[in-house]
Point group: C2
């Protein structure tokens, strides 16, 4: 990872982790005992287990591309958006890992939530993490700090983007398609469509959320960012598939070859390893093309580079 | 049910069912095949299976109490709020019925979603129903029709109310407390606290959502409505507990005595049948007291009467 991006990423992680930890206070930080303590503990476990915070990073980097010269890390609207996105991502992982779904025991090298707690708690923790995402965005927006009409509009737009990216036509729909796909081997367009919904939609939303929360209303900027985010979403998935069959379990923090073993279709199974690598580079290049629209795009460019070069 | 309320309720059901059906088009209504078809089918099944629409009714009745003379059924903001509340309620039922939770086979006399489809589909359908609730509220709010700042604020306030009522400190938190309560028999304050979170919060939200979406910003009106909604929420739960041990499985549409069998604490198990009935009447009376604040409160009063008199 580029030094500048690594530093920015570390700052984003700190900001986001602090805010998430405030939203989900630990046992010691709670002013008094709460009856739903076990739920909050499970939510904390799911969210503060050390994810890469790729989506918050995208959200802040996108906002920074539109606010040259401003210290975007101090923007509380963008921070709320970044946290909301990460909460949606975290909830989806908790539910994806459930026995009735992917039935995974490990996540980031740790027991999954239903293993550490139990299945009912994992279902509810996922549910409440999703709610918290919308809570963060709406509470932030209804506070007095952001009472200007343009800002209210930006926040509503952000909520609309997030809801549409994560629901039946986006992430959850993609997960459903993924489940049914294992039964009938898909072709490349079907696989791409599934990934666009399952992971691409939320990655796009991260980039667009950062933009609208930073106050961007320019359609051509939003279009360029949308194109960029689509391409890096695709690149991210191809690299995931490549890593699933080349990296070790230890490095991945989850079982190596898990997708292969389940007979899940991947870019590697459809294109071969070399074909997948070629497609990855082409997609990376297309992503960079769309950045010419922006003057301050160093961070976004470095993210695109990181996505194709990452080892886990 | 009072004739006037029955007529209003039927109109609310029609409005809400039409809108929900538009949001979740059936196989025949879809312009083209969609890959996530099975998910949308499961969501439709969960939402259009003929619920009583008590929460949308509360939402509209509350809005009507604040907009004397206006035909509140034509208010698209209130309709969006009513649909959002019902979507949250529907998702919670789908997840509550799961094998890892209450493990119920029947709901409203029909197979539960995981029985009719499968467990993974039920988890995802619940997830996407929750997302759709926030989608409905944010899409409505970001459309041009409601571009006034006061309206934007009302919509954001509505989203904040809905998110806070349905998340970890509200409905989902209450469900968690409910699960853990079966193991240690609670006392009356603990049982009341659990119900306030599990069902009361969303019932209160229904009333408050109707008010803020109808444009109410008056704190004393909102306080009176909040008190009213708390009381009818409690009354609703006590009557549920009474019905669970007195009505037949056929009338209930779910297994009679199910709570008793599971050893679940109820108002009846703690207060006895007569004690629960006395508490129900007292709560009903307190609910009515708070309506004196409003001139046009006939519908809200009739709802309070219905809640204590209903047979299922």
């Amino acid at each position: 990872m580029h030094h500048e991006l690594a530093q920015f990423s570390q700052q984003v992680c700190e900001k986001v982790d602090n805010r998430l930890s405030q939203l989900l206070p630990s046992d010691k930080e709670r002013p008094q005992p709460i009856p739903e303590a076990r739920l909050v503990d499970a939510m904390r476990y799911a969210v503060l287990g050390g994810g890469k915070r790729v989506r918050p990073l995208l959200c802040f980097a996108s906002a920074q591309a539109l606010c040259a010269g401003e210290n975007i890390l101090e923007n509380s609207s963008v921070l709320a958006g970044a946290c909301a996105i990460e909460l949606i991502h975290a909830y989806s992982l908790v539910h994806d890992d459930l026995p009735a779904m992917d039935d995974d025991d490990l996540r980031r090298g740790q027991p999954t939530v239903h293993k550490q707690f139990d299945e009912a708690t994992a279902i509810l923790a996922g549910d409440a993490l999703q709610t918290l995402a919308f809570s963060v965005l709406s509470d932030m927006a209804s506070s007095d700090q952001t009472s200007l009409q343009t800002s209210l509009k930006g926040n509503l737009k952000a909520m609309s983007i997030l809801a549409n990216a994560s629901g039946m036509s986006g992430m959850v729909g993609g997960q459903m398609v993924d489940i049914t796909m294992v039964r009938h081997q898909p072709n490349l367009p079907e696989l791409s469509q599934m990934h666009r919904m399952k992971t691409g939609a939320l990655i796009s939303a991260s980039v667009l959320l950062g933009a609208v929360l930073a106050g961007c209303e320019n359609p051509s900027s939003l279009k360029a960012l949308s194109h960029f985010s689509e391409k890096i979403g695709l690149a991210f998935q191809i690299q995931d598939d490549i890593l699933d069959c080349t990296a070790s379990t230890e490095v991945l923090g989850k079982q190596q070859g898990a997708d292969q073993e389940r007979g899940k279709p991947t870019y590697v199974s459809l294109l071969g390893l070399d074909g997948a690598r070629a497609k990855l580079l082409q997609t990376h290049s297309e992503a960079l093309d769309s950045l010419s629209h922006f003057t301050e795009h160093r961070l976004l460019r470095q993210i695109a580079d990181y996505i194709v070069a990452r080892a886990h």
